[in-house]
């Protein structure tokens, strides 16, 4: 028993390491997003940026001249400086590249050094800023990053081959992420974290995004009021992992909805090779296990419904107590629902295990779901169908086994593999060296 306890403790920093904020050097301190900033009345102006023949050749210089509500329009081309949009004077600003072809307006930081290499576009303390139609590449921290704001729109963005997070909102209230791609990031393609609790919650809507080739498709530490819908999470180490941590404020994650997404083939064993630099290992650190579709690591009132979840070799959808959280009041799973999902693509592309749950907490329920063939525990003793309002049936053995999955040094020992069914336009990624799909430039 003591050994098991020791194993649990060893897993602590492991699970922290992937959800903690990026280690960028020029992060603004998270502050109170403050009052909603007054909408500017105009008149508004448009400042044009291009490589040649415009008043501005630097995006940042145009942003510096822009007032509230103004538009900075950036012509096709490659720009090699980061962009920072800060403060109330930039509220409602629009930074527009090429929404129809975001690959043509590139912020490339691969040659940048120091602070300039951290974030391709960072919005800090400015409400309702729109960033649309860009590709970020080679950033050391984040591709597109908003912090300390009420509202934002991130649309038609591609955050590729970068540092920690692709598209990221931290300590913000409300917002929209849509029609975007986060790929080949050494933590998460997309991340919303540390959402302040609100009397009048403002939901963040995420729709029609693609996240692939990342360590995590979606990380959501202490994330609130977020709806992720009609999106695709595939070929990551793990697909969607809302989680609770004390390294950020306001644990646990609460009141999120993950609906109508395709979550599949999250079996990217990046340890065996990746186009990005792996984050430094810690002697104590073991990250999320590879091969998971959705994992709730603690959390309250999260709903996972009407998704298609298939071809994830370890588990399709899983939930486990955040047994390491220092805040005892926030570590248990409460009122989470996993229902009306379709597992295994009609039997053609099974998950290793469709449903996994340690039985922690109260009011957590699973089902009805379609296509569930295997569960862990196999006897289904921790699962009750929705709706359910009572205490769940905890299994220490199941929780211990899930810890073992996280501690597995091979990262594949617990996989149960199956052949995949075809998915239009996507090639399965398990080992990067043998991956035959499109690789990043």
């Amino acid at each position: 028993m003591r050994i098991r306890k020791a194993a649990l403790l060893a897993a602590v920093p492991a699970l922290l390491v992937f959800a903690a904020p990026a280690v960028a050097q020029d992060y603004p301190a998270p502050g109170n997003p403050g009052k909603v900033q007054k909408k500017p009345k105009g008149p508004f102006k448009t400042l044009r940026v291009c490589k040649k023949g415009c008043k501005y050749t630097s995006i940042q210089k145009a942003v510096n001249k822009a007032g509230p509500g103004d538009t900075v329009k950036v012509a096709d081309g490659t720009y090699r400086q980061p962009v920072r949009i800060s403060g109330i004077k930039k509220r409602y600003m629009k930074l527009i590249g090429n929404p129809a072809h975001p690959e043509r307006v590139v912020i490339d930081l691969r040659r940048a050094k120091g602070a300039a290499a951290q974030n391709a576009v960072m919005v800090n303390g400015a409400n309702e800023v729109t960033v649309q139609g860009f590709t970020a590449i080679g950033y050391k921290a984040n591709g597109f990053f908003v912090v300390n704001a009420h509202g934002y729109t991130f649309a038609n963005l591609r955050a590729m081959l970068g540092g920690v997070y692709g598209i990221y909102a931290f300590n913000t209230i409300g917002g929209t992420m849509r029609d975007s791609v986060g790929a080949w990031n050494n933590d998460a393609g997309f991340y919303i974290g540390q959402t302040p609790p609100q009397d009048k919650p403002v939901r963040t809507i995420v729709e029609n995004v693609d996240s692939f080739g990342n360590v995590l498709g979606w990380s959501g530490t202490n994330m609130r009021y977020v709806t992720i819908r009609k999106s695709r999470f595939y070929n990551n180490g793990a697909g969607i992992v809302p989680n609770a941590l004390t390294s950020e404020k306001y644990p646990p994650e609460e009141d999120n909805v993950i609906a109508e997404n395709d979550i599949f083939w999250n079996n990217f064993n990046y340890y065996a090779g990746a186009p990005f630099e792996l984050r430094p290992p810690s002697a104590e650190a073991t990250p999320y296990p590879v091969g998971v579709g959705v994992l709730l690591f603690g959390g309250r009132r999260n709903i996972v419904e009407r998704n298609r979840i298939f071809g994830n070799y370890l588990a399709g959808a899983a939930a486990v107590q955040q047994f390491l959280l220092q805040d005892e009041s926030a570590k248990d799973l409460v009122g989470n629902e996993v229902k009306e999902n379709q597992f295994g693509l009609n039997g053609t592309d099974p998950n290793g295990r469709d449903l996994v749950y340690d039985g922690n907490g109260t009011g957590n329920c699973f089902g009805p779901n379609e296509g569930v063939q295997t569960t862990f525990p196999a006897d289904g003793s921790t699962f009750v169908p929705c709706p359910f309002g009572g205490a769940n049936s905890f299994s220490a053995a199941v929780q211990q086994e899930m810890v073992n999955w996280a501690l597995d040094g091979t990262h594949t020992a617990f996989w149960i593999t199956h052949p995949h069914a075809p998915y239009p336009g996507v090639t399965p990624l398990e080992t990067y060296s043998t991956y035959t799909g499109p690789k990043p430039e």
């Binding site: 009048k200 939901r203 909805v257 609906a259 419904e305 009407r306």
Partner: protein
């Protein structure tokens, strides 16, 4: 204005009080004046007002209720949004057998139900709004979003019949407004209402924001049903709202006397049942007028124990009429204020043998 429309106009005036000024709303210009005044309203200083020398009750703090043992949380995701609304999509009055000429379309306000997390709409905006249901011991958790981009006004959801704290009242009350009583455009609020034993019944919910007078009359109302735990549902359960869309609201020189936002059989709900089925009608008055619910060929027991086929409705009160169906055929239901009936407040009830 034709004869039937003229007859339907009676009592169409609405009285609004905004910012201490009372406006008799009889024309579209009056409506525009009220709308503009409401748009200018500042958010109530709710928290500050409560701590600022008001009565001690205004400083009270309240928790959020949880279900009773054995009860459950019933979550709804509802948005309010204005839209162009046709009162007669078929263009026909099947009751009197003639076309309903244009114009018939105006800007209404409606509630719309979404799936969890506002992930997907579960249907179009509707008048009345989605029916909310609970059993005794449950709590209704209603996530409400003001998604309107036209009127620029705060709106709310205010329920009848269920138990709620002042925070979840959904009522604008000037400086005494609590958190749920002023949901501005773009804002969201989660109401939590308890289904207590004395909540059993059928109730209305509606806008009770600063422009309740106009926005409820534009279509922001719906039905809420609380049943005993495990109580069976009837085989056929119809929810009808009798109300008018007045010319001042629609900017159309006709007074549309509506059932569920539509005029005349063929546009209003057609209710269908079979002989032998248990049939229940819940019929509300949803304007400032007097109406009755009358249906041909059927009778039911009124609250005083007598049988009736024509029962009185006042503002936001309801009639529940139940019977086991035994009379097949095509039947008419309508308001028996005849000027209302002939201005559209009627519909079909079809009973198969």
């Amino acid at each position: 204005m034709d004869r039937r429309a003229f007859l339907g106009v009676g009592g169409a005036a609405i009285i609004c009080t905004i910012g201490g000024k009372t406006i008799r709303v009889e024309t579209p210009e009056d409506v525009a004046e009220v709308d503009a005044a409401v748009r200018r309203l500042q958010r109530p200083r709710a928290a500050a007002a409560q701590a600022d020398g008001k009565d001690s009750v205004d400083g009270l703090q309240f928790g959020t209720p949880e279900p009773q043992p054995g009860g459950r949380v019933r979550e709804y995701w509802i948005e309010a949004k204005s839209l162009m609304w046709d009162v007669a999509p078929t263009g026909q009055d099947e009751f009197m057998g003639h076309a309903i000429p244009k114009p018939r379309t105006f800007r209404a306000f409606a509630y719309r139900q979404w799936s969890n997390g506002f992930a997907s709409p579960l249907g179009p905006p509707s008048i009345p709004g989605p029916t909310l249901e609970a059993e005794v011991g449950d709590v209704l958790r209603v996530h409400f979003r003001n998604a309107d981009e036209h009127f620029g006004q705060a709106v709310t959801m205010h329920p009848h019949g269920v138990r709620y704290t002042p925070d979840y009242d959904g009522a604008y009350m000037g400086d005494y407004t609590r958190v749920g009583g002023f949901i501005a455009p773009g804002e969201e609020f989660t109401y939590t209402w308890e289904a207590t034993p004395d909540s059993v019944g059928v109730w209305a919910y509606h806008d009770h924001g600063p422009n309740e007078d106009l926005n409820t009359h534009r279509g922001l109302f719906g039905m809420l049903i609380v049943r005993e735990k495990g109580a069976p549902r009837p085989d056929v359960e119809a929810g009808l709202f009798f109300h008018q869309f007045a010319p001042a609201i629609t900017k159309i020189r006709k007074n549309f006397q509506c059932v569920n936002g539509r005029v005349a059989a063929g546009n209003t709900p057609t209710i269908r049942a079979k002989v032998g089925q248990r049939v229940t009608w819940h019929v509300f008055g949803a304007d400032d007028m007097l109406h009755t619910f009358h249906i041909h060929g059927h009778r039911w027991r009124a609250p005083d124990g007598t049988f009736t086929d024509n029962q009185l409705l006042g503002p936001m009160t309801s009639v529940t009429a139940s019977w086991v169906e035994d009379n097949p055929g095509r039947w008419l239901y309508h308001c028996h204020v005849l000027s209302h009936m002939h201005a559209g407040m009627n519909g079909w009830y079809l009973v198969d043998p």
